[in-house]
């Protein structure tokens, strides 16, 4: 029954939203600890997450990974694993950038999140329209 979502981009957007929310928490922690001595800013690697997502999508598109009896929930888990591994924290030095950089990253993350949520809501509305037959 969950296969009706496999033809939409909802699983991808779901992973994106989960990632942006997790990253928001990390960045908020950075901003909270601006004046903490010895604190090193942390971040979730966006490139890492996007690479794993790309691989998971490619796997989903290629029929070689299909096995009868197992629903395409296989690729669902691999996208899930990608997001889990992306939570590996990437430490980097503060150097000269400080609160401006953290705030700017948070804004970018926020925009990504809002976009993913908006598109996901639109997809759900479309599915509801298709199911009910009322446009």
């Amino acid at each position: 029954m969950a296969d009706i979502f496999q033809s939409t981009t909802i699983p991808i957007l779901e992973q994106m939203v989960q990632f942006t929310q997790a990253r928001h928490t990390v960045l908020a922690g950075n901003i909270a600890n601006i004046d903490t001595p010895g604190y090193v800013a942390k971040d979730l690697s966006v490139d890492d997450f996007q690479t794993r997502l790309r691989e998971a999508i490619a796997e989903q598109h290629s029929p070689s990974s299909y096995s009868a009896g197992e629903p395409s929930g296989v690729t669902q888990t691999s996208i899930g694993t990608a997001a889990q591994n992306a939570k590996s924290v990437l430490m980097h030095d503060e150097s000269n950038v400080g609160v401006e950089y953290q705030a700017s990253e948070m804004v970018k993350n926020h925009l990504q999140h809002n976009m993913a949520v908006t598109i996901m809501a639109s997809q759900f509305r479309l599915l509801a329209a298709a199911i009910s037959g009322n446009v």
């Binding site: 950038v97 400080g98 700017s104 970018k108 925009l111 809002n114």
Partner: protein, 139 residues
């Protein structure tokens, strides 16, 4: 997405570095020792900006601090014969070397930096608003 955000952020960082230099100059306006502890007066710092093409896209460029330079200006001589730092001989015998920093110039620079900071914050706000409004395409 929205590299305008990165450009504005680079400007904010650059202006804050400039404020740091100005603040350091103002704090050390009467410091006869330099940071190494030698009996040389503090020399004012100034930042050199440079356009940073790696930040923007489509020819737009951000800004970065190319270097923080130290001016070499003649110190201000003050007659203090009792001061252990006073020159023992030479043309400035009995004078102590103090930094020759003009407070007014530094304050004007600080104001300019603050206004630039505000202007970039305004640009950042508009960029954020742009992104939010874009979401209205999907009703």
């Amino acid at each position: 997405m929205f590299s305008a955000l990165d450009i504005s952020t680079s400007a904010l960082v650059a202006q804050r570095t400039r404020m740091n230099a100005i603040a350091s100059n103002l704090a050390n306006i009467n410091t006869p020792y330099n940071e190494k502890g030698e009996a040389e007066p503090y020399q004012p710092r100034f930042v050199v900006f440079q356009a940073d093409a790696s930040v923007g896209t489509n020819g737009a460029a951000g800004v970065k601090v190319a270097s923080v330079e130290t001016e070499q200006i003649e110190p201000r001589w003050k007659f203090e014969p009792g001061n252990p730092l006073a020159q023992s001989d030479g043309p400035h015998k009995g004078y102590v070397a103090y930094p020759n920093i003009d407070m007014m110039t530094q304050f004007t620079d600080a104001l300019e930096a603050a206004r630039s900071y505000e202007a970039n914050l305004g640009a950042l706000d508009i960029t954020k608003d742009l992104a939010q409004q874009t979401l209205r395409i999907v009703a």
